[in-house]
């Protein structure tokens, strides 16, 4: 009986901590969003952060997109040719990339490459009292440090998703058309005919914007609330990658159901 009570107590304490952290996250997010105006006015700060988060992620995004496109072409061709519709490869690859893989994989890569770095940077700034020093200089660290890094994720993510999808299409073209020998015209015309700008492209962009907001907020939240120790910063970085990845996948499911529910 006492074991059961202990279990219930531990479960209750865990749920309590989780709710408290969610509340902290909501309050923190509101504080960050309320200083976005200042961040946009300080455009050079934003550009600097877009460079560090977005531009420096270009290599991994482009190369990954290229390989994902190549794999899609190989796998897609293998299945499509059984039904005699290998020419639809362009359509298959484009829809997969624009609707799902572009936004999702770009967000997962961004979380691993840029967001973890943002969390570690902010966590170390906190551990070395740089944020406290700034606050004591009457400079709001949320406006000066946190908001630009968050906005950089929001701005970079849709652009990176577009670049990922474009690289993927090029990869599929290289394998499907150049290597396997699918007709060039059929590849592009099938793609053009099947991809709808509003339903596919805009929805994909909207998804990546939401992922950018989620990943951006998680990374700055974890860094800002990291325990000021080596272990604290390390744990916060790990939590950023894990929470961001799970959030992206969960949000992707919710958004996909919401966006494409009336299409079939």
């Amino acid at each position: 009986m006492s074991h059961l009570l202990n279990l219930i107590e531990a479960l209750g304490a865990h749920v309590n901590r989780l709710l408290a952290r969610l509340g902290l996250f909501a309050r923190f997010s509101w504080s960050v969003l309320s200083v976005i105006g200042i961040c946009i006015a300080r455009f050079t700060l934003l550009v600097r952060e877009i460079y560090f988060s977005g531009v420096r992620s270009l290599a991994i995004i482009t190369v990954s997109g290229l390989f994902v496109g190549m794999v899609l072409a190989v796998q897609g061709y293998e299945v499509l040719q059984r039904f005699g519709s290998a020419e639809s490869l362009g359509s298959l690859v484009a829809l997969s990339l624009v609707r799902e893989l572009g936004p999702v994989v770009a967000a997962l890569l961004f979380a691993g490459r840029a967001s973890s770095a943002v969390t570690a940077e902010i966590g170390l700034m906190r551990a070395t009292e740089q944020l406290a020093a700034m606050d004591m200089m009457a400079i709001n660290p949320l406006a000066r440090i946190i908001a630009p890094r968050f906005m950089a994720a929001v701005v970079s993510m849709p652009i990176l998703a577009v670049i990922f999808s474009s690289a993927g299409v090029i990869g599929a073209y290289l394998i499907g058309v150049q290597l396997i020998g699918i007709d060039d015209g059929a590849f592009w015309s099938q793609m053009q005919a099947s991809v709808d700008f509003r339903i596919d492209v805009l929805n994909g962009l909207f998804k990546s914007l939401i992922f950018g907001i989620a990943v951006g907020l998680i990374s700055v939240f974890e860094g800002y609330h990291a325990a000021p120790t080596a272990e604290g910063v390390s744990s916060a970085t790990t939590r950023t990658v894990v929470t961001s990845s799970l959030s992206v996948l969960m949000l992707d499911f919710v958004l996909t159901v919401w966006m494409f529910r009336g299409l079939n």
Binding site: T128, E129, Q130, A132, A133, D135, M136, M137, A138, I139, N140, R144
Partner: protein, 274 residues
Amino acid sequence: MGIGAPDPIIDLKDVRFGYAERPILDGLNLTVPKGQILAVMGGSGSGKTSLLGLLGGRNKAWSGQVRVDGQDVGHLNRSQLYALRQRLGMLFQFGALFTDLTVFENVAFPYREQTDLPEAIIRDLVLMKLEAVGLRGAAPLMPSELSGGMARRVALARAIALDPMLMMYDEPFTGLDPISVGIIGRLIQRLNATFGMTSLIVTHDLNETLRIADRVVVISEGKVYRDMTPQDVRKSDDLFIRQFADGLPDGPVPFHYPAPPYAQQLIADHVSSS
């Protein structure tokens, strides 16, 4: 304060503050007149750094009143608090320099963020502040290229950038070699006189502190335990003061963390393992 006496720059009345349920400061009263160099001493966890947090508005008192230059810090809104902080300077324990900025950019930071001064004027002001701490030649260096003492001096130059009325020093001598301790001590004294500031130093370093401070306050059990001049500290035969002054490992501040009787615990461990 009597008639004609200067208004105190710091005035704490019956301040209570702590973390979670544990009180750290418990009825602290302290008044500091303008121009004074006050050293605040006390054992680890006695609330010295918490006191700096209260003065800068980073901590909020449970009860009592914290006044800085006549303003009740606990009741200021964010913009009022930031307006007050623009007139305060704080030197953090390890400098807290921005590691992605050069020495010059670190000192220029408050000017660029808080003023609309043209870059040419900022350059001159930064060089003047760096000259005051003897590091004008280190302007292009990164913080990672500085020694501990140099980093502390750069942080000091940054802290005095906007000519604060009150400078707060959190353990300014910790981890420094004797030469650097002497340099920082002399700088604190000189800057206080030159810029007409008031200085509050939280420290454990008694030798240097007694050399530069006008007054020494010892905090114990959340209250001011002794308020004396450096000369009185040297002559004091109070056991608590002597433990600090002579660096004695045991005394009113015990060497051992509270524990059950040693023999009893050893026997209990032996019995439970057999």
